[in-house]
Amino acid sequence: MKFNLLIGGSAGQGMDTVCMFLEKVLKKSGFYVFSNKDYMSRVRGGHNFNLIRFGDEPIYSHDEKLDLILALDSNTIEFHKDRLNDNGIIIADEAVKCDESRLISLPLQKAAKDAGLSMAFTFVAAGAILKHFGIKGEFENLISKKLPEQTRNINIKAFRKGGELLEEKFNLIGKDLSKHIIINGNDAIGLGALVGGVSFYSAYPMTPATSVMTYLSKKSLEAGIIVEQAEDEISAINMAIGASYAGARAMTGSSGGGVALMVEAFGLAGITETPLVVIDSQRPGPATGLPTRTEQSDLSFLLTASQGEFPRVVLSVRNAEDAFYQTFRALNIADKYQTLVVLLTDQYLADSNITIPKFFFEELKIERHIWDGQGLDEEYKRYKVTESGISPRLIPGKIEGQVVLVDSDEHTEYAHITEEIEVRNSQMEKRMRKLDLFIKEDIQEPEYFGGEDIDILLVGWGSTYGAIREAVEILNNSGLKVGALSFGDIYPLPDKLLRKYMAIAKKIINVEQNFTGQLGKLITQETGLLMNGSILKYDGRQISSREIVTRINKEV
């Protein structure tokens, strides 16, 4: 059982507040929720909508077909009625006029006015919607406590009145989800960073990465950490590198445009061998692009961004659950290999709430790999050539008599500037060796869905996880033999499962939110294997399982 609601209107109508409330109610009532936001880059007006999908089993992506539309204006009906199921309904205020048989006009505004404030009409609607689905319970304490007392009371009244406006059509009973949480991708990254011991986060606001910083800033006092808004992204990343060098766990983040400004310092982290995690919450480019929408188009850029060559690890997150654990892991990887780790997410994940099991803390271990200098009786070599490529790292000011020098020039083991051929080669090789160790000890293979005997292999990465997973299920139920690999780790490219399933499948199709098929190109570059087809989307809206299914059915 799954239902899909759309709440649409213009910016400033209080849509987010009521959606947050509905999501909490659904979660408390024992329904899995997946919600996402589609909004324009403006504070007032325009057309925005939120999708709330809920059901009695885990949900990993949005859907296009709708069961209920709450239309706060007539545009919403106009834009979305074609997506409504035949037995679906549209709820709108009496004032919204539209010639549509599935429309149920309700006195939302009037009821809200009776409750004390016409703005509260969204809560009237929430009451009506829950009644429609027969979802009952004590929900009033879930109305945001951040609202002023008077507004809360009006919303509570409005919510009650809403329940009187509709009859029950369903009688849905949820499960026990008291051990579950509901969280979005950016909060999960922020939480992962916090739990992972980040004590310094510097950034410059840029949608859709800003909320990572906002989350950390909100918690900074309680957690006792520094969150600094830098004058620009160049400063943000150079600050993070400075803090990391000094011994703090540091992180920065932005969207593509801001990350583009950070690029030179990627190499600084690389050659100074300073641990650093950079979050890129992608949006469609180039330049300003579509600021509030989604894309996966920074992958090719980040694989080699910055002049020269140095070891880097590029990871992507597949949903909020993954985002938490991968952020935690990225911090450990950065410290272990003393280098840059880029973590890719996007607007879709940033603004998607998902019900997932509560994070499991027992196995989380912070690994700093910082040396205490034991046995050091000569001048410290920051860049000592070792077999693994990792040089023991001291924190400046912490060891009596020892100093820590780092340098962006090519350098000797003591970090002094050099142009000696042998030293250059040994330092370059030492740095690059670290990736061999990463591949040996830490790389994670993609997640595979499907059977062992397949005709079609889909490959994707990051946020398309949910849609691909669902598409594979639908396609296999329809009689096709389809498997899929969803990549989290991207570079170095884990290729064991890839080679295995590419050998079995007759057709390999990459599914990506970009124009050029960036993962497909990387796979070809790293393995020599070619894609036989591509499903690519670059309109700024997230691909759904239905779109994948339709495209695959066209191909076969």
Partner: protein
């Protein structure tokens, strides 16, 4: 006093013979030794340029970063470890050109750090192009018909932006420079020392003699606490004389760490103890 030789680096110095950087290096070493700052508690931060090689030539902690980007890591280092004495050392191109934006915002933050600008009014490392402080009309290896833009006045800019310690010195007067560096280290808050420094290879106008003929010590009665007068004094630069000394000083202004809600207790962030389980409480709001 800590022995001067404990600051001696084994690295070979690559500056031109006669370069003003040598005496700046000596002044820094003598100042920190006289103030009993141990090498492991001294943090030298630089960008790129001839002056930015300084961290290699003094045995101390060193962060030789990117061109123009010395201040961001320097500030962050001071935020997370206030026990380190942070000295930024870079040239005029690094500090005022490529790093101009950071220069302004670093003043706004007011970390307790020192910035030494080896200001030779020319680009040395890249061989003689105009810098933000090159005089208008001066012919360079790039501006063949002379520099068109007005030179920046970094001291007036710093005072106007709210810096609490703004001084000028001269590499040819080591004792003066050393005393200013010591005063800057003892000052609480961001301190800018713009050091006039002849570039023997690429600036044939602003030579040792050119500076020597124009500089004068600020009068004993000069009041460095008067912001308006300090800005006017900072504008004095040229044939009518160049004042050296502390042009502006403001005591008692809280630093970034003094105000920061987490750092004001004196917290040393790099000593923070943290386990994942300490963060479990933050999951509650998502239940």
């Amino acid at each position: 006093m800590i022995e001067l030789k404990s600051f001696n680096s084994k690295d070979e110095i690559t500056w031109c013979p006669g370069c003003g950087n040598f005496s700046i290096l000596d002044s820094i070493k003598e100042a920190v030794a006289e103030l009993n700052i141990k090498p492991e508690k001294l943090m030298m931060v630089s960008g790129i340029g001839q002056a930015a090689k300084t961290p290699h030539y003094i045995r101390a902690n060193g962060f030789n970063g990117l061109h123009g980007r010395a201040l961001p890591p320097a500030q962050a280092i001071k935020m997370v470890n206030p026990e380190l004495n942070v000295i930024v050392t870079s040239g005029d191109g690094d500090a005022y050109g490529e790093g101009g934006n950071h220069f302004i915002h670093n003043i706004r933050r007011n970390l307790d750090i020192i910035q030494l600008v080896h200001n030779n009014q020319i680009y040395g490392l890249t061989k003689g192009q105009g810098s933000p402080t090159t005089s208008r009309g001066q012919k360079t290896s790039m501006q063949f018909e002379g520099v068109i833009s007005e030179p920046l006045n970094p001291l007036a800019l710093a005072i106007a932006a709210g810096a609490t310690f703004v001084a000028r010195s001269f590499s040819g007067n080591k004792e003066h420079l050393k005393s200013i560096i010591k005063a800057a280290i003892n000052h609480k808050g961001y301190a800018l020392i713009d050091i006039m420094q002849p570039c023997v290879s690429f600036n044939k106008i602003n030579t040792f003699k050119w500076y020597k003929d124009r500089i004068y010590n600020l009068d004993e009665n000069y009041n460095p606490n008067d912001k308006g007068a300090a800005i006017i004094k900072a504008m004095e630069f040229g044939d009518d004389g160049i004042p050296i000394g502390i042009l502006y000083k403001e005591e008692g202004k809280p630093t970034f760490n003094d105000i920061h809600p987490v750092l004001r207790s004196g917290k040393v962030m790099v000593d923070r103890k943290w386990s994942p389980i300490d963060g479990e409480k933050f999951v509650e709001e998502f239940m």
